[in-house]
């Protein structure tokens, strides 16, 4: 039997006082239910994706603060439940299960590394938990996942490389050697860029796959054929700086033109020793790391909210460089979830299917504070968003935007129709 004594009474009184003093409650009281909307954040806190996970976390915090300051979703505050998946597919699936069964989350988001996304997707389908991934992989649009997995906040590799190929072929050269990580994400680059450059009349001389856990790279570079005109590189994980440095040391003064995906340098300071040779080389950027001359008001506000300076580093520590080409995806995804829930009149987990249908119904998404990276077009059938891509050149140690592709450049024929799948 519970005894009411002075201490428990005091405790409950204090709790009541705290509740009354909570400024959020008053603001969200107009909703039918003032209970928070819970979003499970599948975060790469540890493992090889940790640098991304940290910035995905900061971006998520900033986006949620902005959404809540403006009244939340359907008048209810948003609460983030973050769980570490260790950048591990098996744990990714377990994390989704925790979101659905233990935390009672309304939806999940945030998975990035392609093997984790692919490993987690079946769990999302079984749990009937909408999972908004922020991954770049082509696996969503390829049809290999399911109706509960969507990618509305970041474009996929296939559309990115397709938009890059004309620039590479016309500006840099037609004989390309590709260096990429040996897992799903790298294979997307291999398959789709090879096809795209051939469509431009170019060819790939050699494919060099490097295991994602590799720490030393010089031994792979001799495979680069001598008549290579363009070296196309994309690398991920903690060893990216070693990779780029050793690339410079290998070539010395006689390098081919370099075209890289900024993944090779995410969370790495461009001023790091040994990177001087990148001067003049070109990079794909998902979102320009350095504030550009034509910077939009939206980007300015986004930067300030997340705490990133004009060089793409943390305001509090200039050595803490962000993953700027990817992390906007969390911001935009959260705003898409908000828009989807509001369009669906979302009340609770029973409305999860309605939420997915509402997002599937989205088409043109204009550039706005909710979408600071630029305007986008969402394809409901393939669950994949399409958008502008940027090409930057390293000038005086900074990335300067030299080309913006149109959204049309990134389209390809549909390969899937998730809408035809039942819930």
């Amino acid at each position: 039997m519970t005894q009411t004594n002075r201490r428990t009474l005091l405790k409950s009184a204090a709790a009541g006082g705290l509740l009354a003093a909570n400024p959020l409650l008053g603001r969200f009281a107009s909703a039918q239910s003032a209970a928070p909307i819970k979003l499970g954040f599948q975060q790469h806190v540890t493992g090889i994706g940790a640098a991304y996970g940290r910035w995905y976390g900061r971006t998520t915090d900033a986006a949620v603060k902005m959404i809540n300051d403006a009244g939340g979703i359907n008048g209810r505050p948003v609460e983030i439940v973050a769980e570490d998946d260790g950048t591990d597919p098996k744990r990714g699936a377990e994390v989704l299960e925790k979101f659905a069964n233990q935390h009672g989350c309304d939806a999940a988001f945030g998975a990035l590394f392609s093997h984790v996304v692919i490993g987690s997707a079946p769990a999302a389908g079984e749990l009937k938990l909408p999972n908004f991934v922020v991954s770049e992989g082509h696996h969503v649009a390829s049809g290999m996942l399911n109706r509960y997995t969507l990618q509305p906040g970041i474009t996929d590799v296939k559309s990115q490389v397709q938009a890059m190929a004309p620039f590479v072929a016309n500006t840099l050269g037609k004989k390309v050697t590709m260096v990429f990580p040996d897992f799903a994400f790298g294979h997307d680059h291999r398959d789709y860029f090879t096809a795209a450059i051939e469509a431009q009349g170019g060819e790939v001389l050699e494919h060099i796959a490097i295991p994602p856990t590799e720490t030393s790279f010089t031994k792979y570079f001799p495979k680069i054929p001598r008549d290579t005109e363009v070296l196309y590189h994309v690398m991920v994980g903690p060893a990216v700086l070693t990779f780029v440095k050793e690339l410079g040391e290998f070539f010395g003064p006689s390098a081919p033109a370099l075209f890289g995906f900024l993944d090779s340098l995410e969370a790495v300071d461009l001023a790091s020793p040994g990177l001087e040779f990148l001067e003049g080389s070109y990079f794909w950027e998902g979102n320009p790391r350095y504030a550009q001359e034509d910077q939009s008001e939206f980007d300015k506000t986004f930067r300030a909210a997340v705490g990133v300076d004009a060089n793409g580093a943390s305001i509090s520590d200039p050595a803490d460089v962000s993953t700027y080409s990817h992390m906007f995806g969390c911001w935009e995804t959260l705003h898409i979830i908000k828009a989807g829930m509001e369009a669906a009149g979302y009340q609770g987990p029973a409305d999860r299917a309605k939420l997915i249908e509402a997002v599937e119904a989205m088409t043109y998404i204009p550039e706005s504070q909710a979408n600071p990276q630029g305007a986008k077009v969402f394809n409901g059938k393939t669950h994949q968003v399409f958008g502008h891509q940027y090409i930057s050149q390293v000038q005086d140690g900074k990335l300067v935007k030299v080309h913006t592709t149109s959204i049309d450049d990134t389209f390809y024929p549909d390969e899937a129709d998730y809408i035809s799948q039942s819930f």
Binding site: A50, K219, R226, P238, V240, G252
Partner: protein, 308 residues
């Protein structure tokens, strides 16, 4: 690239790996030889060495050489002190029981890794090499005019990589001299031979254990300081060195310095060469297979002493 220059490049790269691996594995081998315990946290001591090197180099600022030399002295010393604390906090309390020590060091390994993630962060951070110039290497061929030298595309090494190989060789010789010629070496060898008799002769075995454990971790940290200008400090970097050190120590014979060095060269070079010409996976397969063969046909390792 042609076969000859390509092979030379693979050998150079493999030698850098082998040099660092020899130092790391020696630390593990020393701890096992003298204390008869397996230090699973060895890889994390390696990682701590690299991380502390970054802090020291960043804190000292100034010329990269100043930061590097500072790191070369401070990082191994600090890591040795941390290891001695672990010895005093845990290993001594469990009486150096082999199983309990494994569990305890696994625990400490995770603690170091997560503390580093919390404090240092998830990024890989670089340390400036004290000097680093690209040296193009010549290759020869027998052409119409007899022996000719030329500089193949990409065949190069950096002065710092050569320094790592040289420094590791000097350190290994110094370590061998210490163990075979100095008084502390004598005391360690006595403790290794027979702990109780050593104690009966007045050797403070507890203190020797603490020193050996610190020294083993310090060697790992030293190896990490040497490699950190090439590969950046990162909180997960201790995993591979631990695995490779185990392979080296098993093949070379637990507790044998000569065996450790021979095995490190074997594994380091074969890893470099096989992964260049075939695939990195095959290199790992062969190394693991070698371990299996050694365990079956020569359980004491190439140079290990037979268990009494």
């Amino acid at each position: 690239m042609e076969f000859g220059p390509h092979l030379l490049l693979a050998v150079i790269e493999g030698s850098v790996g082998a040099a660092v691996l020899a130092l790391t594995a020696l630390g593990l081998s020393l701890v096992f030889g003298v204390m008869r315990v397996v230090n699973v946290a060895h890889g994390e001591f390696y990682m701590l060495g690299a991380v502390i090197a970054w802090y020291v180099a960043t804190f000292l600022g100034a010329h990269p050489a100043v930061g590097f030399v500072g790191a070369l002295i401070l990082a191994p010393a600090l890591v040795a002190v941390i290891a001695m604390l672990v010895d005093w906090l845990a290993l001594k309390r469990v009486g150096y029981d082999p199983e309990a020590t494994i569990v305890a060091t696994i625990g400490f390994g995770y603690i170091f890794q997560q503390l580093t993630l919390m404090g240092f962060g998830p990024e890989a951070r670089p340390v400036d090499p004290p000097f680093n110039s690209r040296i193009a290497l010549p290759w020869f061929e027998f052409g119409e005019n007899g022996l000719e030298f030329y500089f193949p595309w990409g065949l190069s090494v950096t002065s710092y990589k050569l320094f790592v190989i040289g420094a590791a060789a000097v350190l290994l010789i110094g370590f061998w001299l210490m163990l075979s010629r100095s008084k502390i070496g004598l005391v360690m060898r006595a403790t290794e031979l027979d702990r109780e008799t050593a104690q009966a002769f007045g050797i403070p075995v507890d203190r020797v254990y603490a020193i050996v454990f610190g020294l083993g971790a310090g060697l790992a940290a030293l190896a990490a300081v040497l490699i950190v200008p090439i590969q950046q400090a990162h909180y997960l970097m201790g995993h591979d060195p631990l695995l490779l050190s185990f392979i080296v120590v098993i093949i070379g014979g637990l507790g044998s310095i000569r065996g450790t060095i021979v095995a490190a060269l074997l594994i380091g070079l074969s890893d470099g060469i096989i992964s260049v010409f075939f695939s990195p996976t095959l290199a790992k397969i062969i190394a693991t297979l070698l371990v299996a063969f050694v365990l079956v046909f020569r359980p004491q390792g190439l140079y290990g002493k037979k268990a009494a």
